[in-house]
């Protein structure tokens, strides 16, 4: 190496894995951070709407069935628990248990998606549209469809990832790390719901 090149040489001390994780896991985390910032922007936009309109925001308990939303939360939290169990089972080499738990997680995700579709249809039936709704400011309907719609699209992507992972696991083609990556994404979907549930449905 020339003297000039030596001067330009990076003094990086992190080695090949500064985060102590494989590149797959590091990239997954970077993706999750960027996706979280997307939801952060959406929720900040929602906060802007709430604070910038003069008309009162509708009382959520008069629009939504809060026990039904609580049921959806229960389903998603339970599916996260089964997903975590699947990840650990895969790491421990218990393929049957990992596959079983993956299937439970997929069932939970499908139930959640069904509940969300039912909630959307109910609200649309009651007159909720992007431009207007019977409960007050049009921003209420816009925030509802945008936030829950974006989250729902993530649930759909998560289900696709889980189904592919389950099929490949059944064929013994997915390493434990593959199950872990799918798990990280699914838990992220659960994490986002925690914020939507509190900030949109409760506050």
């Amino acid at each position: 190496m020339h003297a000039g090149e030596t001067a330009l040489e990076s003094h990086w001390g992190g080695g090949a894995a500064p985060f102590g994780a494989s590149w797959q896991k590091t990239m997954m985390w970077i993706f999750i951070v960027t996706d979280a910032l997307l939801f952060s922007g959406l929720l900040s936009g929602y906060a802007f709407l709430r604070q910038s309109i003069p008309s009162p925001w509708p009382r959520q308990s008069e629009v939504f069935s809060i026990p039904f939303i609580a049921l959806m939360t229960f389903i998603l939290i339970t599916s996260s628990m089964t997903m975590g169990t699947a990840v650990t089972a895969a790491r421990l080499g218990d393929r049957k248990k990992a596959l079983r738990m993956l299937i439970f997680t997929i069932i939970g995700g499908l139930f959640f998606l069904g509940c969300q579709a039912y909630e959307w249809l109910e609200l649309i039936h009651e007159g909720a549209r992007l431009q207007s709704n019977p409960w007050g400011p049009p921003q209420f309907g816009q925030a509802f469809f945008l936030l829950t719609g974006f989250h729902g699209s993530h649930v759909i992507s998560g289900l696709v990832i889980l189904i592919v992972t389950a099929i490949r696991s059944a064929m013994n083609k997915t390493p434990p790390q593959g199950v872990e990556m799918a798990g990280l994404y699914w838990h992220f979907v659960d994490l986002v719901w925690v914020f939507i549930f509190t900030l949109f449905y409760l506050l």
Binding site: F19, A21, L37, S44, S52, I53, P176, L191, V194, T198
Partner: protein
């Protein structure tokens, strides 16, 4: 490379998930119950926000295994999301006030 940082438990390796699941459900029930108590609005907001953050930390730490990862990864993820979100929120807050004041005139 081996990047497994499995939960170090003395009992069942799945115990952490059951406990986290039960605690998340308990917190969710407490949040729903808080709505039915007649408490000042500001108190309810703080109560719900604190419990929301507790739930987020539990999911990130126990389900997503962040507490078993290297500290720099956990800090990058948690601080990155939190700080950026707070900046976003507090930067648009004055703008929302401005829009509100001018739309009500």
């Amino acid at each position: 490379m081996d990047d497994t940082h499995a939960p170090a438990t003395t009992g069942s390796p799945y115990r952490v998930y059951w406990i986290t699941w039960a605690m998340l459900l308990g917190i969710t029930v407490a949040m729903l119950a808080a709505e039915s108590f007649h408490m000042p609005r500001w108190f309810l907001v703080i109560f719900l926000l604190i419990f929301m953050m507790v739930k987020a930390v539990m999911i990130g730490g126990n389900f997503m295994h962040l507490r078993y990862e290297k500290k720099n990864l956990a800090v990058m993820v948690a601080a990155g999301i939190l700080v950026t979100s707070l900046i976003l929120f507090f930067f648009i807050r004055p703008e929302a006030r401005y829009v509100l004041e001018h739309s009500s005139h």
